[in-house]
């Protein structure tokens, strides 16, 4: 580990940049960890399945039907994954726009998580495209389908990934010891943050708006004109719950990187985030109640789908909301973590209810994903975690910036 830190003090007067990059590419640390032992075979299997998919068509490894053309890869990887990546825009809003310095120490890791989530989960979209060689059509050329919500979402994914990369780029510059570049890139932060928040507002809700035209296909308990707003509000607490959950793991796994000051500050951060979650969930629950009454949804109560809806809204929205509120009072960190996990499950349920479970709930042949779809999804997640670990071990994300940044103020 000392070796890692030694690398990190690299400066422009050190070895040549190429030698440095080459040495950084090598894996660090033990190879035979439980995580590696589980993830490597799944990633290899996933790769094999992806090759089969492009060779024989989507039907060879998925159970997608003519009635349900979007399955697990869109419903979970893209729609749910992006909701969980929402932590990045909420935190940059709090830290850079509202100037809440308390949360500064976790901004970088959250933006990195957000960026990788977009890169991989929106990237999973490419696996699902039947004709991926035409993916550039809506970006270049005269094929702008501007009346399409998906057109908006595609452009926003692309632009937001660039924005997040710029937000994260000072960390890359610090890693490479590029002082001038760091200065220029840091100067762009506020503008990109404002742009990024605007983009997030629109595409988080846009993911819900995708389903507005599928009015007759989604179970009425999950379809309403308010899907975009519900998706937007839930992305706030989905993202923050993920920050709480991931934060608790990274605090343990990478504890040697985190300064004592930041480690102590983390408890305060969790308390603060749980308050934001509680309030956002209250707004969401309230809106759900309004939609329930206006949509005359009580007539569906007592049906199997009605029960499932109640479990989602009461068990996985109302309950964790109350836990978040309770954690405010008795300042219980475990309560916050439990509430975050329940919220995460609830958001997964909600997104899948709109996209997969409630979609063509009355079709003769229901879509049930194949094991291969799950393996590819897991492979995508593991690859993301590998890249995340690679970056954390090299760039100043969790640990403090190198001395020259602090001195150079």
């Amino acid at each position: 580990m000392n070796e890692v830190i030694a690398h990190n003090v690299r400066d422009n007067d050190g070895k040549s940049i190429w030698k440095f990059l080459l040495s950084e590419l090598k894996p660090k640390g033990k190879m035979l960890t439980p995580f590696n032992v589980i993830s490597i075979p799944i990633m290899i299997l996933g790769l094999v399945l992806i090759v089969i998919r492009f060779w024989k068509g989507l039907g060879s490894i998925t159970n997608l039907t003519q009635d349900v053309p979007w399955g697990l890869w869109i419903g979970f990887d893209v729609v749910t994954g992006v909701a969980f990546a929402g932590g990045a825009y909420v935190l940059t809003f709090m830290v850079y726009i509202l100037n809440m310095h308390k949360y500064h120490s976790i901004v970088r890791v959250t933006v990195l998580n957000g960026f990788l989530a977009y890169l991989f989960y929106a990237g999973a979209l490419l696996l699902d495209l039947g004709r991926p060689w035409n993916v550039v059509n809506p970006i270049i050329g005269n094929n702008f389908g501007t009346s399409s919500v998906l057109f908006l979402v595609a452009w926003h994914f692309l632009l937001y990934m660039i924005a997040q990369l710029i937000e994260f780029s000072p960390a890359v510059a610090e890693w490479l010891g590029a002082r001038r570049a760091r200065k220029i890139l840091s100067g762009m932060t506020i503008a990109t943050v404002i742009f990024g928040i605007t983009l997030s507002t629109l595409h988080q809700s846009g993911l819900g708006a995708l389903y507005l035209m599928a009015k007759d296909k989604i179970h009425p308990l999950w379809y309403s004109d308010f899907i975009p707003i519900l998706f937007f509000i839930s992305s706030i607490f989905a993202g923050l719950s993920m920050v709480i959950f991931e934060g608790s793991i990274t605090q343990k796994v990478f504890s040697w990187q985190i300064s004592e000051k930041n480690e102590h500050a983390h408890d305060e951060i969790l308390h603060g985030l749980s308050k934001v979650c509680a309030v956002a969930m209250f707004a969401y629950f309230f809106l759900q109640v309004i939609v329930f009454i206006h949509g005359k949804r009580w007539e569906y109560m007592g049906t199997p789908m009605g029960n499932w809806y109640l479990i989602e809204v009461v068990g996985f929205v109302l309950l964790p909301m109350l836990l978040f509120f309770a954690s405010y009072r008795n300042r219980n960190l475990r309560l916050i973590k439990i509430a975050a996990i329940i919220t995460i499950i609830g958001v997964i349920m909600n997104r899948l209810d709109v996209t997969v479970i409630g979609f063509r709930w009355n079709a003769e042949t229901r879509y049930i994903p194949t094991w291969m779809e799950f393996v590819v999804t897991l492979a995508v997640m593991f690859t993301e975690i590998w890249i995340f670990r690679w970056v954390i071990n090299r760039m100043p994300v969790l640990r403090d910036s190198p001395a020259w940044v602090i001195d150079g103020k």
């Binding site: 068509g57 003519q66 100037n99 500064h104 039947g130 991926p132 399409s148 404002i194 605007t198 035209m213």
Partner: protein, 287 residues
């Protein structure tokens, strides 16, 4: 020079307006001259002989149908057949009914398509364009009639759906099914002609037909129109199809996009500027 700067600009402005507005007026005028083509299908005349299915399959290089319409069997269009005929036992006896693309006036599939691969042509047919499509299948999610079908078992998959024999129409022909139908159950023409023809048939035979022309108002109006002896709900059609068009459903969201894009950044910038003073007091680190 007999012209000063001011009047020169005036002339330039007037000329510019005339050119641009004149052009757009002229072009809207021209587009109105072309009426949407459509098809009128008379379910009462249809004998369920499958001639249209066979001719369609041949014309589009698809396999010949292997099964026949039978009461109780719901055959569906899929990636190997663009049109199917089904048989239903109704209050007026056995009735045959065709199912294929409705060629909506405002198609949800075309509004959904982010590459304009699904396209409402100015002649009326809704067509799919291979070179533009990226295979996202959002058209399938959006179509209220479940028409676009995807070739899941191909490395170079296509979307299959009825295109009203667009190429044939452009050469002055008529769709193969309308040409071949031995019972004269399918009529091709402009949508307006077809609606008056349908009204005439209902008027002349009030005991035969249900008074609704299915497709006249459904989903904002469709190019394919149905005359049926019984209400359409007895014939396996989705009864909850709305009267207004489906793209209408996401219009509100799309209209809010420019508003958010214009209003949100200045608000955020304002909040940032307002909270910035704290930062200098605390001497916080900003990057």
């Amino acid at each position: 020079m007999g012209i000063d700067r001011r009047s020169f600009l005036k002339v330039l402005g007037v000329a510019g307006i005339t050119v641009t507005v004149g052009k757009s007026l002229a072009s809207t005028h021209n587009e109105k001259d072309i009426e949407f083509f459509g098809m009128l299908y008379d379910s009462w005349r249809c004998g369920g002989c499958q001639s249209c299915e066979i001719a369609c399959a041949e014309a589009h290089g698809l396999p010949k149908p292997k099964d026949e319409p039978k009461v109780g069997l719901v055959r569906k269009t899929d990636e190997t057949r663009r049109v199917v005929v089904n048989s239903y036992s109704t209050s007026k006896g056995e009735v045959f009914i065709r199912k294929q693309c409705m060629h909506c006036n405002q198609p949800a599939c075309a509004a959904a398509c982010l590459t304009q691969a699904m396209h409402k042509t100015k002649e009326g047919p809704v067509i799919w364009r291979e070179e533009k499509c990226m295979g996202c299948r959002y058209c399938m999610i959006s179509c209220p009639f479940d028409i676009p079908k995807f070739e899941y078992h191909s490395a170079n998959p296509k979307i299959q759906k009825c295109d009203m024999c667009y190429d044939k129409i452009m050469k002055g022909g008529i769709p193969i099914c309308a040409e071949i139908c031995p019972a004269d159950a399918i009529k091709f023409g402009t949508r307006r002609e077809l609606i008056s023809e349908a009204r005439k048939r209902i008027h002349d035979n009030p005991n035969v037909y249900s008074e609704v022309i299915y497709g006249e108002n459904e989903a904002g109006g469709t190019g394919f129109l149905y005359l049926t002896p019984t209400p359409i709900s007895e014939l396996g059609f989705n009864a909850s199809i709305q009267k207004s068009s489906y793209p209408e459903l996401s219009k509100g969201f799309l209209f809010s996009v420019p508003t958010v894009f214009v209003l949100l950044p200045p608000i955020l910038l304002g909040i940032y500027e307002a909270t910035k003073s704290n930062q200098t007091k605390e001497g916080g680190d900003n990057e």
